[in-house]
């Protein structure tokens, strides 16, 4: 049944139904409504979880890591500066193969200080070993949380995940969402059985020191788990579709791509605006399509190559910049398409919450078709 609610509230409601046993989170705009809602639920005894209040995000993720290692299903949420503060712990969580699910309410990183949306925060941790999923709307955001726990807790995977949705654009937007019942979630997501846990009766240490003889092989194992996560996600996404009627078996998803000459590639809420823009361009006779990336890590290189057969020009919309080297998604797409003959252009767009209109999407397509790319789109040169 569809209900009208704020994106953050939908996330809190779905996380509650995922039955986390420990939550530790620190409030930060634009994630605050999520953690406030969850704290309220715990206080009201609607959610039977241990809520550990801490003084910073570093402590929040550290508490989550400890709780997860002790065998609990754990949840946290953060963004931007908060995620940056968790940097060290993120690598430890993945290295210790703890299946923590954390919502990232995507927000730009300072300096200059900004509370508005772009995807720099989560993308900047693309090397950390966390799976990364990006949602186009609040329904997908809610659904991806359930799928994330299922994939992460698979004993073949045992990796943490970021479920990313755009700050303000999705977090603070009210729109219809269909929330499953507790029974329906329980049917999809069984109780957490840890692969191993800290237990005084059977003591073990986790995250120990590794000499040069072993370190590389540990990292290789994590990378292999990442690669296995592709199939695990496809399976979990298909099962989700069978139970709930919304299929998530695609690591990527095409929109009007079948006979497209030019393809846009994007992640997150911008895909909604892109789809409307594509419909307008198609009505005007242009053959344009969208390839939406849903899982950024593991990077769906083979799926991207496969989906873009027949496309001659690709315009990647990057809501981030790897300073000194262009957009992260664009760079990785170019790498995936190396040797294929497809021309790929990268557009840095919408940083710091700058609004993107349908006309901007059309302008990007125009630029790409004219052979102009690898640039900041919409730069206000008058303020430079």
């Amino acid at each position: 049944m569809l209900e009208f609610m704020e994106g953050s509230h939908a996330v809190a409601e779905i996380v509650k139904r995922c039955r986390p046993q420990v939550i530790s989170a620190y409030p930060i705009t634009p994630q605050t409504h999520i953690v406030e809602d969850l704290a309220q639920m715990v206080a009201n005894c609607e959610l039977d979880a241990e809520y550990i209040t801490v003084e910073s995000e570093f402590s929040a993720l550290s508490a989550c890591l400890g709780a997860s290692a002790a065998g609990s299903r754990v949840y946290s949420a953060t963004t931007s500066q908060g995620l940056a503060l968790m940097f060290e712990v993120c690598f430890n969580v993945a290295g210790m193969r703890q299946p923590i699910v954390m919502t990232i309410a995507n927000r730009s990183l300072g300096a200059p200080l900004s509370i508005w949306n772009d995807q720099q925060d989560s993308i900047s941790l693309r090397d950390s070993g966390w799976l990364q999923f990006y949602a186009e709307d609040n329904q997908e955001t809610a659904d991806l949380h359930m799928i994330a726990y299922k994939v992460c807790e698979d004993h073949d995977i045992l990796l943490p995940a970021f479920v990313c949705f755009d700050g303000f654009i999705l977090t603070h937007t009210y729109e219809p969402v269909s929330l499953p019942t507790q029974e329906e979630v329980d049917a999809y997501l069984p109780a957490f059985t840890p692969y191993q846990r800290l237990d005084a009766a059977n003591p073990l240490s986790m995250g120990m020191y590794a000499t040069p003889e072993y370190y590389m092989e540990f990292r290789y194992e994590i990378d292999r788990a990442m690669q296995r996560a592709r199939q695990s996600f496809i399976k979990a996404g298909r099962e989700f579709g069978e139970q709930f009627g919304r299929d998530y078996s695609g690591l990527v998803e095409g929109y009007r791509l079948e006979d497209a000459d030019t393809a846009l590639i994007a992640m997150g809420s911008i895909c909604g605006t892109v789809k409307d823009a594509i419909d307008e361009m198609r009505d005007a006779g242009k053959k344009v399509g969208l390839l939406k990336i849903r899982t950024y890590r593991p990077f769906p290189a083979p799926e991207i190559v496969d989906a873009l057969k027949g496309v001659s020009t690709v315009a990647v919309l990057d809501k981030n910049i790897s300073l000194g080297n262009g957009g992260a998604v664009g760079t990785e797409v170019k790498s995936a398409l190396y040797g294929s003959g497809v021309t790929v252009y990268d557009y840095i767009i919408a940083l710091g919450g700058r609004d993107v209109r349908k006309r901007d999407i059309a302008a990007v397509v125009d630029l790409a078709e004219k052979g102009k790319g690898d640039m900041f789109y919409g730069l206000r040169t008058e303020v430079l």
Partner: protein, 86 residues
């Protein structure tokens, strides 16, 4: 206009933002009944109450947002919040 390196900015810009336009209610101070205790100036969250030469107090209506804390605290009921004609 060049963007300043380091996103740096000089102080004092907040003064340009005349928050007085935000208010719905305006404080009216009566110097006749004022006992000069100074509590209003102390509690104003915006620093918008200043002492006059006579030792009584008046609001800075350029910035006063009309929160009414001064009316609340005044022991002599010497301050009244009134709906402002805009």
């Amino acid at each position: 206009m060049a963007l300043r390196v380091g996103c740096a900015a000089p102080p004092g810009r907040a003064r340009d933002n005349k928050t007085g336009t935000w208010r719905v209610f305006k404080p009216v101070f009566d110097p006749e009944t004022c006992n000069r205790c100074g509590m209003c100036a102390m509690v104003c969250p915006e620093g918008c109450v200043r002492e006059t030469e006579e030792g009584t107090f008046e609001p800075d209506l350029d910035y006063c947002k009309g929160c009414g804390i001064c009316e609340e605290i005044c022991p002599k009921k010497s301050i009244r919040m009134e709906k402002e004609e805009k």
